[in-house]
Symmetry: C2
Amino acid sequence: MRTDSVYGVVLAGGSGQRFWPLSRELSPKQMLTVFGTESLIAQAVHRVDSVVEAVYIVTNERLFDELRNHLSSHADRSLQGVRYLQEPMPKNTAPAIAFAAATLELVDPGAVMIVLPSDHLLETGDLWRDCLESAVKLAEADYLVTIGIAPTRPDTGYGYIQGGPALEEFAVRDAHPRQAARFVEKPDTAHAEEFLASGEYYWNAGIFVMRAARLLEELEADAATAPIAETSRWIAGVQGTDGFDADVARQRFGDLESISIDHAVMERSNRVAVIPAGLKWSDVGSLLALETIADPDDLGTVRVGRGVDIDSRDSIVYSTDRLVATLGIENLLVVDTADATLVLPKERAQDVRLVVEALKAIDAEEVVQPKVSLRPWGSWTSLLKGPGFQIKLLEIDPGQKPSLQRHRHRSEHWIVVSGTALVTRDDEHIEVHVNESAFIPIGAVHRIENCGKVPLKVIEVQVGEYLLDDDIVRIEDDWHRER
Amino acid sequence: MRTDSVYGVVLAGGSGQRFWPLSRELSPKQMLTVFGTESLIAQAVHRVDSVVEAVYIVTNERLFDELRNHLSSHADRSLQGVRYLQEPMPKNTAPAIAFAAATLELVDPGAVMIVLPSDHLLETGDLWRDCLESAVKLAEADYLVTIGIAPTRPDTGYGYIQGGPALEEFAVRDAHPRQAARFVEKPDTAHAEEFLASGEYYWNAGIFVMRAARLLEELEADAATAPIAETSRWIAGVQGTDGFDADVARQRFGDLESISIDHAVMERSNRVAVIPAGLKWSDVGSLLALETIADPDDLGTVRVGRGVDIDSRDSIVYSTDRLVATLGIENLLVVDTADATLVLPKERAQDVRLVVEALKAIDAEEVVQPKVSLRPWGSWTSLLKGPGFQIKLLEIDPGQKPSLQRHRHRSEHWIVVSGTALVTRDDEHIEVHVNESAFIPIGAVHRIENCGKVPLKVIEVQVGEYLLDDDIVRIEDDWHRER
């Protein structure tokens, strides 16, 4: 298929509270590496990167740094090469996609967008590529296209799309598009069973293919949705110029109706196509999805991580690194991370946001901050905080270096426990080998670089009265971060 | 009351698997500080130390170091002044008490022993002291005395003692002893209810008062128990002399019947007294005892530690330092420590040993080793282990110093994050202040001392190929430890 003027648009503004404690505000669901060898967002990028000119990640100010750190920490060039669009604030999918469309339209007036969520699982392969090729052909003929997943069970948690007359002239090998007859919200069980039996209904997986300009026209055609297109066009036009005022943008974007692309466009337009596809797909909707990543034991309990389960039935016990033991539990979910543990019945998996809200109310930092923070140069892990000191483990990839920086309130001791470091301290440049250490006094301009060929591991002991992350004055940074 | 020739004998050989993960093999139940401001064993010592000449802790080789470290880490002189008796191996209570009796008889032929468990809770005060005074009088008149707790519920988990005719001539104020009519093992519910209603039965709390020589005579009087007295007398006679052979002692002690003092003596003797006492008492028999240490919330859930419980009923959520959240659980026990978490229904609390056994089978070190290890000089906490390195937090009390030592396989970096250290490194003596560090190369003879007036906190980063605790060559030690 042709790839010029085709762009991937990955929607990555979601905060994924339902996966706490595995996900955090600053490490949301799309960054989870639990499901497969790559994170969900990396999988999403790879789902389209070979068939597009460029992949755009649509996110917001709060998540931008974290997502960029996450994706650029992969050696993978296609992940480092993605572009970022920052919505002024998180809204629903219609404003997010409109904002991407308005930006793309300025770059390439004929732009076709393949829009997809950043936090789902989807089988790829020949059929997926056939679907995309067919979808792009349809989009060029001004269709708004969605990929419909052939249902395998009468699920009441998904939206459905009913297929209409065939659009066989746009078929590509195994991809046979149809007009979309109607969109149905989450049905009751009777309807879901009827839909499944009919063979005419498909799961709405949130995957859309359309010309950018065409989407904006559709939004403009209805007075209710026209402001979404107008505001998106205005922000796209002024962003990066002197005329851009972040506060005004935030206010105008914030005034937009919070509406999904389904409601705003797909359900209303009379030129919608669906391409049915028998692809394995999951929206990874709750912690129950952990059930799929390992085989159950004889009593139906799925375990990941160290520990034992005695007489425990039909439960999910997931631990990232600590020891967890269970005895005689039934139908429970136990999710354990380095700094927080959650216990709940499986049937309450949809309600984890209640826990997150309650934890926010007591200012629990475990809701916001992950234990391991990915950086473009590697990662750091918080080991211990005490009065006046903090200990971190820094892991720096070969050839990488955090910024040249200084601190106003803390000194730092670096002890190399693996690899070799090149330490800059004011005018000095010191090679520090395994089992050697360096001391950075308060105020000293410093940098650490992995000048070796293997990962560099450094124990950093910070001592000072004020130890928060914002005490960093960046002087030079490979990633142009201000702080 | 007179205290000369009266001795406390605290039985502290138990391993307390039922409290995992709060207790560990090397930090058993009697060292728990969960129930009150002091550990259970410290409470046991204080229960008798004001009315005796000396307190003896009966323990075994495996626990001796840990118990001594634990008790000598208290500033409290009475805890530092206890004496230790090491059984050649853990046996039941009859051999343990006989061994204590044989040792005491050599020290003081008229010795009266107040024997008590190290891991129970007991209300003390005037009535308790009256009981002890009365018990010592009875013991001197050759009675084997037990304190019987007035039952408050028909508990089927305890043994009962039936009271017989009064022994009013030995009464002391509110303590009115009676002859013991009979000992009853854990009864069924009907009997337990009958016992409670009768007012004639008391809980057997494992507290015994008797002359040492009298106990040995009782054991000798029966051919079945005579070897317990003989072997105990033999070990007591040779221990600490050239004639002592640890292997022979272990073999002979190991050959003894594993029998409780109740079975061996109390149930058989015709000169047993019971002093009924309306004292609050608990054997702290399982993790369910955690229910008593905080008030339940509106849904009946008892929580200790950081976190939230949403819609969680009649559960116990106990966390030592991490965040634990629950949602919609019922009748569960969630026990969380720095390195391990246990989840089980409350009704399975008696079966925690099954978990411990399963964890032993997979060599989980969390069964053996506590996260924080108390030492006579303070404590150390394991923060992180990685390939070739290990990080500990050392906390050293003012004026204290770990041993002068060296390592064959590791170097150490010490970073002072609080207080002031005097570091010995071969021939050097260096004062290391907060935010300064010292490096100890492999093989160097070294010591760290808290030469200041406030607790010294040091981050120790060990680097080497072999990092286990047995790579310590002790050259000098304030506590005469070999390693």
